[in-house]
Symmetry: D2
Subunit: 341 residues, 4 copies
């Protein structure tokens, strides 16, 4: 059994830790962090989903701080690394790089990094649907960001089925996650003035042959990015063929605005009504009515739940790095355990 | 076993229906509505928590409309009422009154109404903690609103323990629920210009001897009302005694801002991290640090999850109306089944 | 002197009325409406910018209602129409059409309609920069919407200078204007599921030869739409050439994010700091850093102040309909009086 | 003529500078700052209201930075202080204190500080209505914060006319100003967990004999705080008498929700419609319908424009410190020049 530590228990970290714990072919060895946040405290609390999991401190200051905040700490992460096979690093940008150099590489521990990490932190930018096999046997893998993940999932099936000449995606990003309420913007739309934005090259790290450009703004919402997409195709499929392609793709859902799911708020409510844990939606959601082909241009609008979409890919990355399963069976296994379609 | 129908599957209705289904001493006989909304569709869908529950139409137009929208409808609610013991009516204000007159009273079916219903729709304004016994054997009961429920729960224990001379609560209300995104206000604070506001008399319908006045505004948030409270006491307790009183009260929680729960967004996240269904919080949450006594004045600030706080009281109301349990055992039973503290 | 009445004193109406009043070649004959709103009351108040302007009622009910609300009403609009040359109709969609049929056409009064009016209400869809001359001598003209106006202004200069093969604009629309705080969405992004959206054909009503497609979402902000644009050009200009073209276009401004204007909120503040009346910004604002050409694709992001951008075009439309000035001199005159660049 | 420098050209600083410039008995000698922001750039730009005003750097780093950002800087503030009579310091908390010690005191320059400064920075906490004379001849004065100013204005007239036994105000604060869009909270209400909050003692710094307690939350809006107030009176006036008292108080306005001004958004629009510069509202606005006396308790709800309410008090403070006018004539003069009622 692969022993997994999750380092950095924020939005992504706490979700990945729980997902690891649910798998039957890997073990959640422990959590690691440097300071309290509401999430860390809750998941470890008596009624919390990770109650009883060992907590380590990522450094000496963290050890002191966590103990001052009333946590029981099992010791320094470094001192336990010989029992650990892989660390899923969900620390903030900057910290991840230092961790690789000072902690993971010297101790011969594999590591997975997240979308905010620098490009060169790992030889593989990973998305399970698009390039699972590239991560086989690797020591360091970067799971791409939420926006990139949703674009990789949707673009890969469209490219395969209909051929993409070039693609443009306009991203409308959420300002902060639900508990990140000290972030803005309030009553403002903030353009990303690097045009095209970095999201295009990020997708190309996963799909090197794809011509894709992106633009982005940030708006005052907390649950979900929205992407408006226009793609020049090599072929001229019917709308219905494209919808069918999306339906066939794992981790992509079609939702109908006309059935009462006509906004990110109402899709959020759908996940609540389905009792999805934390109201998460790891699948990308394409609004079915928006899938439209005119001449050879394909348009659609999809929604990305920024907090959870990369969780299954982190699990698949572990399996690929330890060559535990092939792509299809890993995706199937992960989705079944996590309750995805 | 008491047969329960929930009429009006919106924010409250879908939650009460699920709560009824989980109890072992009552049966969810069916749902009733007149038209699609996202929630109705989701809870009845293959993966939904009420999949398989019978759906009735509240009237002839509703029958046609629901069928047009692709629902299988078991028939008109009226035609099945002889098998129904009680209807929990969660329809919009105005409709509830018509339903009582045309549907429930003529068919000798008991009914529970919600906080938006007119005062005189039922002889009892109900809050389980404050006046459970008043509903014993009654045919019509009104469960009071979310704001009133939180005030009744907190005021009743404070009044009992320390004596309230008079109380003022300033309410900061959410604009709309998560899926009610067509409601405002965006970037605006809206005062309720009836001063004192109706919430004071609403509490007095439950606690007739309490001197309480309220003022209110509406703000652009979707999860949680916040109340700022100042109360003149007959005694001068220590802060800690008041906290202890709140801890002893069912359905009231203390949360610590200093532990990372310092806003409604972060308390919302706490409920998500605890895997509370729909991220609901049926308990009122008092910020522990705010509980302060100066001279004989007690201050505190609490948070109300407007979507779920009245759900347990609806269950208790059923038990009271059919004299199935006494107050303590009903509250205990409900809280256990719903996973409340 | 042309006698102008503005009918419907909302967001657009009050601004057009004030702009008419400032011109020296037309007369603001009066306002017309059916009911109070804050804006009507304020502009007519003692300190208001339209104090002393005659107020008419658009119909009999309106007469009664306005008088009940404490306004002095000069009579029915219809009874004064023989002294009126043109009505700028800023009433809500649906009302505008009825007004044309029942009020303006039978009384031989010219009329200008706004962007929400149906396509066929007038033979000309008007934007001063793009097709001033089409409105010469016409009886009925429709000034296109705020989004369409900004696209017409920017696209027309780009097309003229560099040739547009085809264009895609992704619109991020504000939820409501500053006083329209009962509108949503709160904490939600709402996609327009008609894809491509109506904005493309709206631009084509002004520029029939332009290939343009649009997609749109709505977000919780009150001041300004934002458009993310990608355009296939016939030529390959340098970035600077495109910026120069935008600078040469009346009613288009370049703003630099790097100078502290990096969001709609900060551009709003710029207009406040310039003492622009109502903090209005009738020019479209292109973020200079976003103007980027790669191969033959041009990208940019611009901002549209939805409340004021069509005001100068309404003034120009009057001049065109009465053949008072040619295009260049009307635009120059309007911009000088309104203090635009 | 008193020579005035404004140091720190943010929300308050730019407004005070313009207000100083408009007075006929003082001279705006210059501005001082350390770095660009959109406001500084705009007000000094060719079309800006402070075009041509001398700009100084508050320190050596600031000199370099401002010049790098393209500003013409007249030199270090310190080197010109012998020509300056008073500095209105609008720098962030922390900086103000250092400036007093290192810059103003050693150079024998009087200074005015703002509400965020520490209590002991000046011997006088100033509100023109409440304690103008206390500042006569002083070298250092602190103008109290926006919330405190609105409470001082309203409480002082109520106390004088009807006697206040004790008062409680519940504050609903805006998250950030219009251009401060990187601040939150988005979709969250944040309680101030120090209960009672600091605003009560802040008012008592101005009105030492007033019994007042406050509680506060922060919400996602950008224009205006709202206060819900309940006051125990020594007398039992009619509602109308209290309204009349508010009408008699300078810098307090009554607004009627029923006339279309029923939210902060709509009051904001009122100021826009009146062409108030920057849509500012230096008067506190009491919603007339909310002024209510029951027994001896007085309730009301008022709104505070956080950006501009302290501007006239800064001007009055200058006059008091140099004994230029008595209270009534200074207030009258300031209000006339600024266009207040």
């Amino acid at each position: 059994m692969v022993n997994v530590v999750v380092n950095g228990i924020g939005t992504i970290g706490k979700r990945v830790a729980e997902a690891v714990k649910k798998q039957d072919d890997m073990t959640l060895y422990g959590l690691s962090d440097v300071s309290q946040n509401g999430g860390l405290r809750t998941v470890l609390s008596e009624d919390g989903p990770l109650h009883g999991t060992d907590l380590y401190a990522s450094n000496n200051d963290g050890l002191e701080q966590l103990e001052d905040q009333g946590f029981y700490v099992n010791g320094l992460l470094e001192d336990s690394l010989d029992e650990v096979d892989v660390v899923v690093d969900c620390t903030p940008p900057g910290i991840d790089e230092m961790n690789k150099e000072n902690l993971y590489a010297p101790n011969n521990v594999k590591a997975i990094f997240q979308g905010g990490a620098p490009k060169d932190i790992a030889p593989v930018a990973f998305n399970a649907d698009a390039n699972y096999d590239d991560a086989r046997g690797e020591d360091f893998v970067k799971v791409v960001s939420c926006n990139t993940t949703s674009l990789s999932r949707t673009m890969s099936v469209v490219d395969e089925e209909f051929g993409i000449n070039n693609a443009v995606a306009s991203l409308v990003r959420r300002g902060g996650d639900i508990p990140q309420d000290s972030r803005g913007p309030i009553n403002s739309t903030v353009p990303v003035t690097d045009v095209p934005s970095h999201h295009g090259p990020d997708v190309q790290a996963v799909m090197p042959d794809l011509e894709i450009k992106t633009l982005a703004v940030k708006v005052p919402v907390t649950y979900g990015h929205v992407h408006m997409v226009n793609v020049e195709l090599e072929s001229k499929p019917e709308d219905e063929e494209v919808k069918e392609a999306f339906r066939s793709q794992p981790r992509v859902d079609l939702v109908k605005a006309g059935e009462g799911y006509d906004s990110t708020g109402k899709v959020h409510e759908k996940m609540r009504d389905l009792h999805s844990e934390r109201s998460d939606m790891p699948n990308a959601a394409v609004w079915e009515e928006t899938v439209t082909v005119e001449d050879s241009t394909l348009y659609w609008i999809h929604m990305v739940h920024q907090e959870s979409i990369v969780v299954p890919d982190n699990i698949d990355a572990i399996r690929a790095m330890f060559e535990m399963e092939d792509k299809e069976s890993s995706i199937r296994k992960t989705d079944k355990v996590l309750g995805l379609r």
